[in-house]
Structures are given as C-alpha cells and as structure tokens.
C-alpha cells in the first residue's frame, strides 16, 4: 500500500576525483532536504570526466554491505539517497552505477546500460555495459526504477520499468548544455528542452512520476545543463531547477495523484508486454 512520500532532487556540481568534497556536497544536500528519498546526478560522488582515473575511483559494491572508503560518510544520512559512482565489478570492470543507499548501506545497484560513445562522449572506452534493469522497492510502498542519462533516451527501458510496475522513474544525468546562442525556454541551454520533452512524455504515457537529477558546473569546456525536473504522473512539471547553480527540488509523491492520473488513462491497464516480447522475438530482434 503506497503512502505519501516526500522526496527531493539535488542538482549538484561535482569535481572529478575529489571524492571527499563530492560526498560532502551530497551529505549537505541530504541534510538540507531532510526527506526519506533524495536523488542526485550521474557520477555525483566521482565527477564525470574521469578517463583513466575511472579505474582508480572504482569500488566494489554489494547489497547489504556498507559503502566503502570515503563514501562511508553517507552513513550519517537518515533517509535513502541515490548516488552516482563507479562500481568495480567482480570481473574488475568499472561500471557507471547508480546506488540506492540507506544509512550508508547499499540497497540496490543499477549499472548504466547504454554508454554514449560518440561526439564528445567516450564512455564505452572506460566503462563496462550493464545488462539488467531491476525495479526496486522505495520507502512508503513505492516501486522505483533507475535510469542513467543516456538510458533515458532509449524509451524501451522506461517501458520495461513501467511494465514491471514502477510508479516512479528516477533518472540521474550528467547532460552537457548546448544551444546557448538560441537559449532555452527555461534556461541557458536549448538542449534542455529535449530532456523535458522526454520526461513529460514518459510520465504521461506510463502515468508515473519522473524525477530527473542533472548536473551543473563545468568540466573542461563543457557546462552541464542543470534543469532538473520533478514531473507528475499526468506529465505536468511540478518543480524545475535552473540552468546554472546547485538546486534542491522538493515534492511529495501522492498515491491519490497517481490513481487520478491512471483512472482516465488506460494505457497501463491495456498494455500487453507479452505481445511486445512476442513480436520482438518473431522479428528476430530479441535473441
């Protein structure tokens, strides 16, 4: 049985390899938010542009075990926090990972499934690809799913989470800003509008909450675009971060609002995952 769930989205800066400072930023945001669930951006504890340092900052993660090394300081946080860091897998491969932690202990690890390796992105050179998508129980009876940045641009993944019953899709991103000359409707970057379009469409199609935590700050010549979002299950924007500077967005996930959104929209009720799976198989796309 779902109950109301106060949540927050922390739009944070992070410095590459400055683990203690990044942990301090995450802890400070959690203290200020003081909610049962806080979402932070992709690689929020390690910084994004790690390159050869990727292996250096990677750490082993196991469900039920304490977060290792400098990340252990997150044990002081009273609620659940979702943080981005580099997992060192049992195969010694580094994975871009999102971790749900409760009082400093790992509850769930989601590896990034799609590693952008084009244009300015080079993730396939440094990270291994995740292979599984698993919804996870969140506080107060909610079921969540985690996606990392590029994963959100592959709508089949949000579909899988929604079909598995997720009520809230949490997206952690480190999306760079582009289109400064044109500007965006709500900030400095025109590129933020595509993110908002995807977030609102996903929320409306599947009648789910979408939480998007995007980075701010600068690494090299790249400015991260901020524009974090909390989108309600009808596709309405509940809260939006600016395009520059850290921010803390608040909302309360409301079971009644979820029910209201799902009552007139029968897409979820009528959806047929078995049909999709069967057709993917028949077309030779799922083997």
């Amino acid at each position: 049985m779902r109950e109301s769930l106060p949540i927050a989205v922390a739009q944070l800066d992070a410095r590459p390899q400055e683990l203690d400072g990044n942990v301090a930023r995450g802890s400070a945001a959690a203290g200020e938010a003081s909610v049962p669930l806080l979402l932070t951006p992709e690689l929020s504890l390690t910084g994004y542009d790690l390159r050869d340092a990727t292996a250096t900052v990677a750490c082993p993660l196991a469900a039920g075990e304490p977060l290792p090394g400098p990340f252990a300081a997150l044990a002081d946080i009273s609620g659940h926090i979702v943080v981005g860091l580099v997992e060192r897998g049992p195969d010694e491969v580094p994975y871009n990972a999102l971790v749900l932690a409760e009082r400093g202990r790992v509850r769930h690890v989601q590896r990034k499934l799609y590693l952008p390796t084009y244009g300015m992105f080079d993730e396939g050179r440094y990270f291994g690809r995740g292979e599984r998508l698993q919804p996870v129980a969140l506080p107060n009876g909610w079921l969540g799913g985690f996606l990392i940045c590029e994963d959100f641009w592959h709508p089949g993944l949000a579909y899988v989470l929604a079909a598995a019953g997720a009520d809230v899709i949490c997206v952690a991103a480190a999306a760079p800003g582009r289109g400064v000359w044109q500007g965006g409707e709500h900030g400095d970057f025109a590129s933020a509008e595509a993110w908002e379009l995807i977030a609102r469409t996903t929320a409306a199609l599947y009648s789910v909450y979408v939480l998007l935590a995007n980075r701010v700050g600068v690494e090299g010549g790249v400015s991260f675009a901020g524009g974090s979002l909390i989108v309600g299950p009808t596709g309405d924007v509940v809260a939006r971060g600016s395009s520059h500077g850290p921010a803390l967005l608040h909302a309360t996930l409301d079971p009644a609002e979820l029910a209201r959104a799902r009552r007139p929209a029968h897409h979820g009720r009528d959806d047929r995952p078995a049909l999709v799976a069967r057709e993917l198989q028949r077309l030779g796309l799922a083997s």
Binding site: R178, V180, H244
Partner: protein, 184 residues
C-alpha cells in the same frame, strides 16, 4: 528568448563559468588577454571580468601564472591558425554573430578574404554552419557559396585541420565545438 541582451547575458554566464573553472583548475592568478586592441577583446574582457573580477584580467603579460586568452571566433578557429592561447572564450561563436555583439567585424586578413569571396561574412558562416553544426557533407554545405569561394573555403578547412584539433580550451555553446567534438 531572442532578446539580444538576454542572449548576451546567457553567453557571458556560460563563458564566464568555463573561464572561472579553467583559472581554478590551472592554478592561475587570472587571465591575460592577447589581441587586447581588437574589438572582440572588449567583449572578452567584459565576460572574463564578470567571472573573475577586474583585478584578475590583464591586458598585457605580467609576472606569474596567467592563463592566455585569445579572441578568435569559431570562423577563425575553423579556417585559420590564430596565435596560440590556452583559452578561446569566443571560439564557439561565428565571426558574423560576434560582430553583432561587438561591432565592427574584425577578422584576420585570410578570413576577410574568404568572406569577400563568399559574398560577405554571413554567407561564409552560413556555409560553415551547414558543415560544422548541421553535419552536412562538405560539398553540400559549401554548395550555397559561389564555386570559387567554395573551393577556397574547402582548401582552408583542409589546411587548418591540425590547428583546429589542437586549439586551446573553447567553452561549449553549440552542437559541435572546436577541440571538444569537432574532429573533421
């Protein structure tokens, strides 16, 4: 969204953020503007000073660790080899657009010659934009120029490949930025 003042503020905010971080990451005392007499330098000074404070922006070299700042536009970085600098804050803004922000238009001689052949700075930048930002094949991108101008621009792009790849830090503003994700 198209308000010129808002655009200027937006560009200054993003470029200033990159400049501030570059100074911090390099451990520099501030920046020193090369080409201090150029019109674009005024804009560079304005944005750097807003990000760092006026005392950390110099118009002439001084003792100590100062980050060198060039005023080359995207047009110049694509087609010519500007004097080396650690940072090109205006390097993702086309020359004709820059002229709208800080007139008059003041390109290096080779760029002026190419613009004259192309039918003006806007025509030259329109062709470059089709290639660099819209990712059209080069012949298609340059097809909007007179044939002799297209040949000159093609030759200049070819000759400048090395300098374009190894230019200094350029704040990313557009879909493809020299030194970040424009490798042709």
């Amino acid at each position: 969204m198209m308000n010129p003042e808002a655009r200027r503020e937006r560009l200054g905010r993003v470029i200033g953020g990159v400049t501030r971080q570059a100074v911090q990451d390099s451990g520099s005392a501030g920046v020193v503007l090369l080409d201090a007499a150029a019109p674009e330098s005024g804009l560079g000074y304005e944005w750097c000073a807003a990000a760092l404070g006026r005392e950390r922006v110099l118009a002439a070299p001084a003792p100590g660790a100062w980050l060198s700042v060039g005023t080359a536009s995207k047009t110049t970085l694509l087609l010519a080899s500007p004097a080396p600098a650690a940072l090109f804050p205006l390097g993702d803004i086309y020359g004709s657009a820059l002229a709208g922000l800080c007139p008059p238009w003041n390109p290096p001689a080779p760029i002026r010659d190419l613009a004259d052949a192309a039918g003006g700075p806007e025509a030259l930048d329109a062709a470059l934009r089709r290639w660099a930002d819209e990712r059209r094949p080069l012949p298609e991108a340059l097809a909007i120029l007179p044939a002799p101008a297209a040949a000159l621009v093609r030759d200049a792009l070819f000759a400048n490949r090395f300098a374009r790849r190894h230019c200094g830090l350029v704040p990313k503003l557009s879909s493809r930025t020299p030194g970040i994700d424009l490798w042709e």
